[in-house]
Symmetry: C2
Subunit: 511 residues, 2 copies
């Protein structure tokens, strides 16, 4: 028989100091700044990068220690903005500190890094600690990397999806059919949601659409929608909009719907890394949390899109369908052409203008954005039972052409806080063709990077306008694209990148 | 024929601000603090977590932006200690800033995360950027995780080793045989190097031993040696010691020997992650950089050691030998018993006392530490040609017993700056057995964690003394171990962990 040692349990006495808000924005990571000569540092042995528990009248969080030689009084502890938000102390409040034992869930991350399978309990504990803000950036980066590629099997993706879904709020609607629409991304300018959702709502479907901000792209649907109406709606406000207009288009990060996803995104962005398993868990947990029951998912395929080959698309579609079933979502993946960007604009405001042109039926509206939107809207109407196959496309076209979609979009914007005008950029520069030829390829990834260097999405007016499509013929000096930036530095930087990165727009010379 | 667009190249104009040292220690990551309302932030569009190039009269580094609302004047930029060290500006110096395009080498890290093989060029670019301090903690964590488990094949490990070796300094000695000795770790208290090195040097071998500080353990060889003599020697000082005494035992991070390794260690520690491929590259690049030609590597195997099974040990040994050949190192891996800690003390000062007891031939010296050291010294003497097999063990025993090893150790310490006394702990608490029984197992990992919670290695006197070994019989109340800590908070924390973590020392009850 085996037994084990135990010793009298002593609760660690917390060291204490006074809270000071020092106004440093460190991103998601909570940082506590200690004077090197403070009593806390000397008695507790805190060191740079130590992880500590910080407690304040009923609230607590984990923080990373940065040691400072000045800035503070010795009896003060400085809190980063993220730490201040989580603890919400009064200035000068007494904070208690204790050494943080490594989180149990971090052991599971390590197991995953070493190639082990994670069970539902392990994933639940990881997701819980992430949603609570207990992971440092280092731990988040390790988790995201450990799950990258195809390192999560289908059961793990399902368990991760369920864990992410259960960690936050979950909306319920008193309808059997709740429709939604999502794109896995990778195609600049592919803002069909802002056209599909009002069409579907005008046809009578309930569409509580949540959307994301850009991760590695120049604009997310939420970034683009924000150019036209407020998107930071809490769950109550979102519910009122949907009950009034049958649909909304809001940012999904505000309502604590799959909150771990919002944290993970912040390291996926600098790593430029979002893997298939996490993509599936991210999308489906958000959709299920918003109460959707039938979801159309646009999967653009092309050599420079996120999904590069039909085989990869087929794997992703199978995964989406299977994991969807496990969380009671009927998922309809639709594989689409991902060879080149959609519409003309790339960047939040520029894409918003394309959307308005299509909704308003302007003469110059991008035909490709219009046609993709109608195809997808047709499939969504059929999926939701608002049109019988194969009449969905025709029904959608009628709703767009007679102005019902545009009126519905305006009503949704009003309900979300009012339709508004996208900002105009301050600095513009055209990038001309050096020689004549036929456009043979457009690199989505580099074009996206170019738009980001110009300032998108953090400068919402920034990005670029694309003037050519594959197959077009150009002459020397003809503008291929126009860069838009809010600051001269960014415009210069984007121009330099356009000059150094070859083949963003490949021209085949005439012979 | 395919061509591509180019545009007139515009060098990005750098925005500028005045350097201020604000004394914040952020660890390895360079941070630049900007006022939210500063001209730089407004004109360049810098945002929290943006990566920026910072330039100052011939030096430059990448830094992560933290935005502050006060603390600085609008025309100032605050630099973290790591950024200040790299740029070394005069206070108030003019710094220039520019948006950092994502590092090319980070694309290779992403490829690895997605499961691709990395070629020598990719690994070289990653290692170069890491050694230059250009990776944020997020990127380092991603690289370490992407390479964890067995995700690096033998060619990749070889290429990584060569890249790490070539990035720093490399010592040459005018002898054909340059011996060295290393342990892959995972066994608390296994401080044989401090005994093996003086024996080998006394036998006439040249042993320029570099050692590491603790990653996830309560003490590294460098931490323990530092209790007895200075270890922060630069390459010139190290050379003088070796030329005078035939050996040294210094910290390997001071001489820019495989400098990328020193950066990686700082994220491996909070992640508690060091994988086989990186272990091999880390060890062999350090040894080759120090000029070794024949290296004995101790591989302890046990269920709670770093290497858990004979099969895993065999894989690691094969990898060490093969990669060693590629960098012209003759590697002799020696598999040893890793069932329980070695010696009595765990923690820098406590382990140093065990070493002194063995070298001095004290009556109470730990017999297991002595015997392991003699076995390994014997093999090293044979590997280096200082003894013919199988007489190495006997020769080593004679050198230890007649005091030559102790005199050589003292001479090495003198040459490194002087032998000194390890510190004594301030707070001590014994952990008694709750019941009678026979010690059936000791958990190396949890015991190591316990010693770390007590403050090792950052408080060098902290750690624990183990009073029992597997097979010993104990009665209730008999001390199993004694905790040593520099601060009451840490002692309390360690006591609480000892109480909550079961089976650190498993007792089989007498029947």
């Amino acid at each position: 028989m085996t037994t084990s040692i135990t010793v009298p349990q002593a609760a660690p006495r917390g060291a204490a100091a006074r809270a000071r808000r020092i106004g440093v924005d460190t991103g998601q990571e909570a940082v506590a700044y200690f004077r090197a000569d403070s009593a806390v540092v000397r008695s507790e042995g805190f060191d740079c990068a130590t992880r500590v528990w910080v407690r304040c009248t009923g609230r607590e969080t984990l923080a990373t220690v940065h040691v400072v030689s000045g800035l503070l009084n010795p009896n003060e502890v400085g809190l980063s903005e993220s730490a201040w938000r989580r603890l919400d102390p009064t200035p000068g409040a007494r904070l208690e500190f204790a050494h943080a034992e490594p989180l149990e869930s971090v052991r599971h991350v390590r197991s995953k890094a070493f190639g082990a399978r994670l069970d539902a309990g392990a994933l639940r504990s990881i997701v819980h600690d992430i949603a609570e803000g207990l992971y440092s950036d280092i731990h988040l980066a390790s988790f995201v990397t450990a799950c990258a590629g195809r390192r999560l099997d289908r059961n793990e993706v399902t368990d991760l999806t369920v864990a992410m879904l259960e960690e936050g709020n979950r909306l319920r609607w008193d309808r059997e059919v709740v429709a939604d629409k999502h794109c896995v991304g990778g195609l600049p300018g592919n803002r069909t949601s802002l056209i599909v959702v009002p069409i579907a709502a005008a046809a009578g479907l309930l569409v509580p659409k949540t959307s994301s901000r850009a991760i590695t792209s120049p604009a997310g649907t939420a970034d683009t929608m924000e150019m036209l109406a407020p998107v930071d709606l809490d769950v109550g406000a979102m519910r009122r909009v949907v009950e009034r207009e049958g649909a909304c288009i809001v940012w999904g990060g505000y309502g604590r719907l799959s909150p771990a996803d919002d944290v993970l995104i912040r390291v996926e962005r600098p790593l430029e890394l979002d893997s298939q398993g996490q993509l599936v868990a991210s999308v489906l947990s958000k959709k299920a949390a918003a109460g959707a029951t039938r979801v159309l998912i646009d999967v653009p395929v092309g050599p420079t899109a996120k999904v590069r080959s039909p085989a990869e698309a087929e794997r992703l579609c199978a995964e989406l369908r299977a994991v969807g079933r496990a969380v009671e979502l009927e998922v309809l993946p639709v594989v689409t052409d991902g060879m080149q960007p959609v519409g003309k604009g790339i960047g939040p405001a520029l894409e918003a203008r394309d959307v308005l042109a299509v909704l308003e039926g302007s003469a110059g509206a991008p035909a490709d954005l219009r046609e993709r939107s109608l195809q997808l809207a047709g499939r969504l109407l059929e999926l939701g039972g608002a049109a019988a196959a194969p009449t969905g496309r025709a029904t959608a076209g009628a709703i767009l052409d007679d102005g019902r979609a545009w009126r519905k979009f305006q009503a949704i914007c009003d309900a979300q806080g009012g339709l508004r005008e996208p900002p105009r950029p301050r600095h513009i520069r055209a990038v001309p063709a050096r020689c004549s030829g036929r456009v043979s390829a457009i690199d989505n990834r580099r074009l996206a990077r170019l738009a980001r260097l110009a300032g998108a999405p953090h400068d919402p007016g920034a990005g670029l306008e694309l003037h050519v499509r594959i197959g077009d013929t150009v002459v020397p000096g003809q503008p291929l694209l126009t860069l838009h930036a809010a600051a001269q530095g960014e415009l210069d930087y984007a121009v330099a990148y356009a000059g150094s990165a070859r083949d963003i727009i490949a021209l085949e010379r005439n012979r």
